[in-house]
Symmetry: C2
Subunit: 224 residues, 2 copies
DNA sequence: TTTTAAATAATAGTATTACTATCTTAAATA
DNA sequence: TATTTAAGATAGTAATACTATTATTTAAAA
């Protein structure tokens, strides 16, 4: 039997659980590919249906609209990242190496995790960079938040915040610094590749420079 | 004669210069209001035309599509901010007070500047918080960048980067830190108001806390 | 003053998007 | 075997994002 990694997702994000059927898994798989290829604005359920070989109505039986589908796959990624951080830091004892590990995980394009069959994490990482903030930068953010759509993000933020406090229990802004690290790991990557003058990484386009930048930022900020 | 403040905008953003006619100025004025009220996704040229009392075709004569209109008003704001920073720091001698001033300007909801008749800066500031990153988080970012659509943002980033270097000429990431400050001044505000668990400002919802957070972040990071 | 050009208003039309509804078939379950 | 459940097939609608055309008003040039 294959090893499999699953996360339980907020049921109000979907009409029918996509993890439960082949069509459902195909919807997740192909939407990740298609959102990456076309961008979220140009992504439609019709195109998605065509790429799967089903009909528009078929997709609508799983997700009410494309916004909920986006929130679904992004939430999935936050859960996966949170799991990765827990897993990869559990044997580390000092908070310095933990925090460095966290920054590296956040800022590095991952390889496809074979334990999650229909999800390609490396593409998901790219989606998060370009489309991630569109999940919450909407007029319905307050309603979405009441429905707990952003819990996976908050949990991740909390995980990172806890490690910050391990290093310096007196630091006053662990959650803000955590969300800053997470957002900047993505945004500086986007800038580096598309608007290099907004960064100082123009020449190399190397993720290790972003990691270097974030490490300095974090450790100087929280130093005791 | 009234004092007036104008910025010359990138001509490839518009078909007809909106600063040149009453209808043009109304398009700017009402689109700022309408994007703020409905959010960019629900904003359409038809609604805009109705709110002005003209027709859809009338708006299309000024702007090719709503994306260019968004980039226009956001660029306008970056130019205005850049001007504000120049103006409000020109008599300050030491870089510490300059940087503090910059952070305050970026993170504070401004009052409507009466020198700019048809533009309400306080609403624009809100638009920047909620819609700002949608100007560049698109599939056409590279083409848009070639057309210099983001020059005002880069100029602002440079202004801030210069001040950072004044304080510490050896700091390696002045542009990345500048874009981090600018983005976080907005994003932490959004989080504070809509997703408070991603910040540490939940209770008070006070902008001064964001300023405090950013000041600590910046000065610890670039300290010599 | 007249001519002419430019800007705007009014109206119509199209392809695509974002859905909802219904009906049939196929497969799994009781 | 009967029945629920999922999926496929097809149709339809209101709204969006435009383009095009013609008529009317306004303003600048001759």
């Amino acid at each position: 039997m294959k090893l499999a990694l699953q996360f339980n997702m907020n049921p109000s994000l979907y009409l029918r659980d996509p993890e439960g059927t082949d069509l459902g898994k195909n919807i997740i798989k192909h939407s990740i590919q298609l959102i990456h290829d076309t961008g979220f604005e140009a992504f439609t359920f019709k195109k998605l249906a065509e790429s799967i070989g089903t009909t528009e109505a078929g997709v609508y039986r799983y997700f009410e609209n494309k916004h909920k589908l986006l929130v679904y796959i992004i939430s999935w990624y936050w859960r996966w990242l949170d799991f990765q951080i827990g897993y990869q830091t559990k044997n580390l004892t000092n908070p310095v190496s933990k925090l460095k590990k966290v920054i590296t995980i956040l800022a590095t394009t991952v390889e496809d995790d074979l334990m999650t069959g229909h999800v390609d994490e490396s593409i998901l990482h790219q989606i998060l960079i370009s489309e991630g903030s569109k999940a919450f930068l909407t007029k319905q953010v307050n309603q979405d938040n009441k429905q707990e759509y952003f819990k996976p993000y908050k949990d991740l933020c909390n995980t990172v915040g806890e490690i910050i406090l391990e290093y310096n229990p007196k630091y006053k802004y662990p959650h803000s610094l955590a969300s800053t690290i997470i957002e900047m790991a993505h945004l500086q990557n986007f800038f580096m590749n598309h608007l290099p003058l907004l960064t100082d990484f123009s020449k190399s386009k190397n993720e290790s420079e972003i990691i270097q930048y974030l490490e300095e930022l974090v450790f100087n900020t929280i130093r005791i």
